[in-house]
Symmetry: C2
């Protein structure tokens, strides 16, 4: 018999992105009871953007009202940079609406409950630790690999923030100081080498190099090299395409070198990977494990589990809720 959801202690998780706000009611066991999405007003003024967020929260709350107690808190995750201590959004490129905006306190003013704010990857790392794949592990390294690479570090059940909340930016660890320039300005970050856009670019380069080579990737792109994306590489790999396999294996090699650095610094109890590219690479997790010993001085790296994230597209909602549960615990 599965337990019935516990609406009594539910909290609201809010996931703010450049185009949408997703909100969900999450019970103390990390189950998302109800959720909805609204457009985000990322390019409007700060107050209009705040209203887009509160409209989504209020809409979810009104749906829930009849059957449950009011939520005990609200946790928000958003793209950084932001300050998790003060709850200020600093200057995220994806959210031009807010510059040094006290988002947490403004939302708290509206709903009169505790409100916590953190970046997406940190929040998702905490959700995985509390309720997901990393549950029960002491030192957790989490990475979401998609259009970018975001990472979060959780020690003893708490996000490791470092001095100013800027810790855990593993996506911008460089493994090639002479390498291609990342959107952040550094050279050779794992993000510029192995995230979705890099996989797409690698595929386009290989297809351009040898136009006589047949590949399902090109079939899926209807013969248009410029239309090739990492998603199509993933689909082609699932259909058994050798070129797609080659591209994903190269990506696996890069991620192994990077994870080796992480393990040598942090010696975590578990590594969890989420996001669209991680899902695509899941068939290669065994290969990453096999390669890690050659990228680590840690003599016991093979004992560290490499797991796929429990939360998929709902990582933001669960992450927001985890931030908040942390406060209430």
């Amino acid at each position: 018999m599965t337990e019935s959801p516990n609406r009594q202690g539910a909290v609201i998780g809010v996931d703010i992105g450049g185009t949408k706000v997703a909100v969900g009611l999450v019970d103390p066991r990390g189950r998302i009871l109800r959720q909805l999405r609204r457009p985000m007003a990322a390019n409007s003024g700060p107050e209009a953007a705040l209203e887009a967020v509160t409209a989504a929260i209020s809409s979810l709350s009104s749906q829930s009202e009849s059957s449950s107690a009011p939520p005990r808190g609200i946790g928000i995750c958003a793209p950084g940079p932001l300050d998790p201590v003060t709850g200020m959004v600093i200057n995220p490129p994806n959210l031009p609406c807010w510059r040094n905006f006290p988002l947490a306190s403004r939302v708290a003013d509206v709903y009169r409950v505790p409100v916590k704010l953190d970046n997406d990857a940190n929040a998702a790392a905490l959700a995985e630790t509390r309720w997901g794949a990393a549950r029960g592990y002491r030192y957790v390294f989490y990475a979401t690999v998609g259009t970018g690479i975001g990472t979060g570090i959780v020690f003893d059940g708490r996000i490791y923030h470092g001095r100013t909340g800027a810790a855990g930016e593993g996506g911008h660890v460089s493994i090639d100081y002479n390498g291609p320039v990342c959107s952040c300005g550094k050279k050779g970050c794992i993000e510029v080498l192995a995230a979705g856009p890099a996989i797409g670019a690698r595929a386009r380069a290989k297809l351009s190099e040898d136009r006589s080579r047949h590949s399902t990737i090109l079939d899926l792109a209807k013969g248009n090299i410029d239309a090739v994306t990492s998603e199509l590489v993933g689909q082609a790999h699932a259909a058994g395409d050798p070129l797609a396999r080659e591209i994903l294996q190269e990506t696996v090699g890069l991620l192994s070198a990077w994870l080796g650095n992480i393990v040598d610094l942090l010696d975590p109890n578990v590594v969890v990977m989420g996001g669209g590219v991680a899902a695509m690479l899941q068939p290669f997790f065994g290969q990453i494990k096999d390669r890690l010993p050659s990228w680590c001085v840690n003599p016991r790296v093979s004992e560290i589990p490499l797991l796929i994230a429990h939360y998929g597209a709902d990582a933001g909602i669960a992450g927001g809720a985890a931030l908040c549960s942390d406060v209430l615990a």
Copy 2:
């Protein structure tokens, strides 16, 4: 008025290397009251090697006996790999005498006081945090740059060990996954790129490339390129040699890229560097600080102090003592 040394609460710090054992009596404020060195029997059997260590400790204790209480504990640092939890030496390349040897408990059996064991860099990081340059800082990253690069992470006054004690191996963070092979087997570790031997090799390569170029480095090596070492590069730089400056600036560039990775992961409150090469590079610390922002996404990296270690050649003795003070605190 300076306080007089406090022999009452003194502990013994032991620094075991491949060729020597250094032992010192260290007071609760981190002052080394007395020290001595003995040859290490690294290539003999495990019991003879243990005797080399206890002979040094006993010799120090007998010198101290008349004037002080017996030491309250013994802290030992040694090259890794070792297990700080069980106090076992696992299989250090520099100490073939010991394979899975329970060093801490064997020494405790002799002296009947608490004995702690950790690797050199971790121990030195703790000594800097407790008594040295990193005193008062919450999240500390320490690196000793010499013939190798060892690092230690201290959070909230305690060494961060990770899952198995293998954390903090920052010297083997790779910044060039296609780079030269390190002694550890990984490619492009900062150790193989920027430690003393790399500086010597870089100088020899540049001198071989352009034999018409005059350099004080070559003068110091009496014209013999093969005799060029990092020490001579340092001496030549101190004498104003432009080639030496060029070589050290390249090293600074590599260390900046590496420290950028560390800061983006850990966002420490302070970075402390010790060891012979760090001392040689101290005039360039301002340049490292200037370069770090281009190697970090951390928007406030410029606020993080980069400091030279307080303990020089005595880092091992102080480190051993710090391990032990930790137990007694």
